[in-house]
């Protein structure tokens, strides 16, 4: 004798059916999937099988063999190269700027000293 009263509105009934059938599909083995596909004349193991229609899909191997990935890698490498070039140009520019700043602050001490020496050195001939 059943002890539980269940509400059987069509929506509740559909919910119960779907939840149960969902579990059945989760448990379906690979062989069952292949058999169902074979019934329909499909071969899911074949590249571009109709079984995968509805969503464009890539397998792991297909993805790494695809033009999409090649283009992405090319783009990424170009972007990396351009970023590296920009970075190196910026580094060179900043080094040059530092050099200029440094040279403005401390001009060649030897050049100055020579000049100073030339201006301040006593004339030996006069002394004589």
């Amino acid at each position: 004798m059943r002890t539980k009263l269940t509400l059987t509105t069509p929506a509740a009934a559909l919910g119960r059916i779907l939840d149960h059938l969902d579990r059945e599909l989760i448990e379906a083995s690979d062989e069952e999937v292949l058999e169902a596909a074979r019934d329909l004349g499909m071969n899911p193991l074949m590249k571009g099988s109709a079984a995968f229609l509805g969503l464009q899909c890539f397998s792991f191997a297909e993805f790494f063999d695809s033009d999409v990935l090649k283009n992405l890698l090319l783009e990424r490498s170009a972007a990396q190269k351009s970023a590296a070039a920009q970075k190196s140009a910026a580094a060179q520019k900043s080094a040059a700027a530092q050099l200029i700043r440094a040279s403005n602050k401390q001009p060649n001490p030897r050049a100055k000293s020579t000049e100073t020496r030339a201006q301040t050195a006593p004339c030996r001939s006069k002394k004589r």
């Binding site: 509105t9 069509p10 059938l21 599909l25 379906a28 999937v33 169902a36 995968f52 509805g54 792991f60």
Partner: protein, 195 residues
């Protein structure tokens, strides 16, 4: 400012494609999920397709909105997300507790005095939709009285043992009927997207 390659922007893979590419699911799992998505899309309005449901499940899993518990298979996890998406949609359509259509009698924060105004037509519409979908599922197993009996038992909320007892069938007969049902559901799922 980082430079984003323009080509990458134009060639965004769908979440399902990313999952396949990253080997998160196998090709067979993908077909299983396709059939499950087709199943859960039943009873939802026509504007929500099985592929929307599947992509949304993948998105939630990959974005991290839903976290996969350890030890749960990826297919079971994604199927669970689809199940809750379906329930969420029905709840929303039904004007559940989280619905914005709820209207309070007064404007105070007394929830006990809150009332929800629901469209009485929505229940009827949902019932009609559900009945239609049950009939469509029964059509899948037309000519298989055991499978039809199982569906009727499930609709009434009976357990496997109760169904077997009611139908007076052995466990082996019940299990072979389940196998036939799985195959019919897979066949139906695999034909999705062919039209």
């Amino acid at each position: 400012m980082p430079h984003i390659p323009q080509l990458a922007d134009q060639r965004i893979l769908t979440p399902a494609q990313v999952a396949l590419a990253l080997n998160i699911i196998s090709r067979m799992d993908f077909l299983r999920l396709k059939a499950i998505a087709r199943l859960h899309a039943r009873g939802l309005p026509p504007d929500i397709g099985w592929d929307d449901l599947l992509q949304e499940a993948f998105t939630r899993a990959m974005v991290g909105t839903r976290r996969k518990p350890q030890g749960v298979a990826m297919v079971a996890f994604l199927a669970g997300i689809m199940r809750s998406l379906r329930a969420e949609h029905w709840r929303r359509a039904h004007g559940g507790p989280a619905s914005k259509e709820s209207l309070r009698i007064d404007h105070q924060r007394d929830l006990s005095r809150a009332a929800e105004l629901r469209d009485p037509g929505s229940d009827l519409e949902r019932a009609l939709l559900a009945r239609e979908q049950i009939e469509a599922i029964e059509q899948l197993f037309a000519g298989d009285p055991v499978a039809l009996g199982i569906i009727a038992g499930l609709a009434e909320g009976r357990s496997a043992a109760q169904i077997r007892a009611t139908m007076r069938i052995a466990k082996t007969d019940y299990d072979s009927a389940r196998k036939r049902m799985r195959r019919a559901l897979l066949r139906e799922g695999l034909t999705c997207g062919l039209n």
